[in-house]
Symmetry: C2
Subunit: 281 residues, 2 copies
């Protein structure tokens, strides 16, 4: 497994692979890898000749009061995990951005809702880093997990709009056995907070079950969800159209219920599908 | 010469060329082609196997009070001119952007000055359309004329920042025999206005000559330039650092003098180098 620490080395490595007729896949991460990340890697492993994982805690996507400086890191553990699933190259740039970097990529519309509303600038940072990673790595395919459902939809929009030569695949949201959505930020949870954090999963599950049983009214579903929650502060609990991410009043087509809430120290997010399945194109 | 009218057809054409081992060059234009455009095409013709010219009047780069609806067009004349310099494919999309398009690419810093200051949003529109054209056409090389010097520098910045796989080359600014910088918008000039528009070229020339004779003080150079101008309204006359485009007080390194002014109906722009030459990398 190769460790590449500069954009130039990464591009050259990828270029060599592609000029040898091989396809390249990318799983972009911020490190502190868990089984959710490994699931994305395994998914892409079987589809491409050369699998790249990038590990970069991107300052652009953190707000001034967010947890950039304390974001958890574990370089050695991450490399061992990558090796265990057959990753070919790990891209760990110290400086991802060139001197004088001054470009911003943003997606409107989709980012007005959910995390886009409560984390101003977050998705500009995400789009910008992903556009640059795509430029540096030049993958044929990349996977983004459904845990960050809005991020997945925003990246797919950007790729279509800029006609970028990469196929963006959705990756399954992975849960611990108790139902908690896997997240690097779970490491911040005390045992007690972790027990309360499970209420997010239960709230989503209750809403999904009620919808499956015929309740289409979002007001009723939301009441059900809110009643199940035991969190310190709810950021949002929204039922949105699965494609536009705009809030809906009734579940009449593919929809998504998404929750963001603080439990103890971390802000956690989770989501589940409601209504008919989304057909990924 | 092929005429391609959809992004999908353009991408497929370019894909075929590249998978046959050929290099592809792109000259992006808004049509109403003149010898300045043809000079860019000839420059690239000798460097690439397949030469593409795009013709698209991009709404995103026009302000609400600007001349989008009246921008001059001449489809038949443009195609004949492209054929005359050996263009392989002309990309004339009716709809360049996909349904639901909502991505914006912007470059900060460089766009605070000159036209960026007087045309808010203009360079966001330019960056966005060029990023999409690069995605659709996937050229190995592209040329942007020094007539739009700020645009050239902004596009080079975007390409470096997003690590786009295209080399951006500067193309020489072309002038009519009387010195007027070639521009599609010159067609708006009456004979009388055209004579007055030549004062822009004379002002630039006087400043360049004075600098070459040893005058480094920008205040003195600007006075000289302003005295030579006979325009209806001056937008700006600035001496800027050739790399950062920030105004300078003295010409101590590669610099550029740039003028934007209204003469009769059109707003015209022109520029010349001052001081040591810029070394293009």
């Amino acid at each position: 497994m190769e460790i590449l620490s500069t954009p130039a080395a990464m591009t050259a490595w990828s270029q060599r692979a592609r000029s040898g007729g091989m396809t390249v896949g990318l799983v972009p991460t911020m490190g502190f890898l868990h089984d959710g990340h490994l699931s994305l890697m395994r998914q892409l492993r079987s589809r491409v000749d050369r699998l790249v994982v990038s590990i970069y805690v991107n300052p652009l996507q953190f707000g001034p009061s967010e947890d950039l400086s304390s974001y958890p890191r574990d370089r050695e553990g991450d490399l061992a995990k990558c090796a265990s699933v057959g990753v070919d190259a790990v891209f760990v740039p110290e400086d991802l951005y060139p001197d004088g970097f001054s470009t911003l990529v943003s997606v409107n519309g989709l980012t007005e809702h959910l995390c886009g509303a409560s984390r101003p600038g977050h998705f500009d940072g995400v789009c910008t880093v992903v556009a640059r990673l795509f430029g540096v790595v030049r993958p044929d395919e990349a996977v983004f997990g459904e845990k960050d459902f809005q991020q997945l939809m925003v990246i797919r929009r950007m790729v279509e709009d800029l006609a970028l030569p990469v196929r963006v695949l959705p990756g399954a949201l992975m849960r611990d056995p108790d139902g908690l959505a896997m997240s690097s930020r779970n490491t911040y949870l005390s045992a007690e907070d972790r027990a309360r954090a499970l209420s997010i999963h239960r709230a989503l599950g209750a809403m999904q079950a009620a919808e499956a049983a015929g309740e289409r009214r979002v007001s009723a579903l939301r009441s059900l969800g809110r009643a199940a929650l035991d969190v310190d502060r709810l950021d949002y609990l929204e039922v949105v159209d699965a494609l536009t991410l705009a809030p809906v009043d009734r579940v009449d087509g593919p929809a998504r219920v998404a929750i963001a809430a603080w439990v103890g120290r971390p802000r956690l997010i989770d989501n589940m599908p409601l209504g008919p399945s989304l057909r990924w194109i």
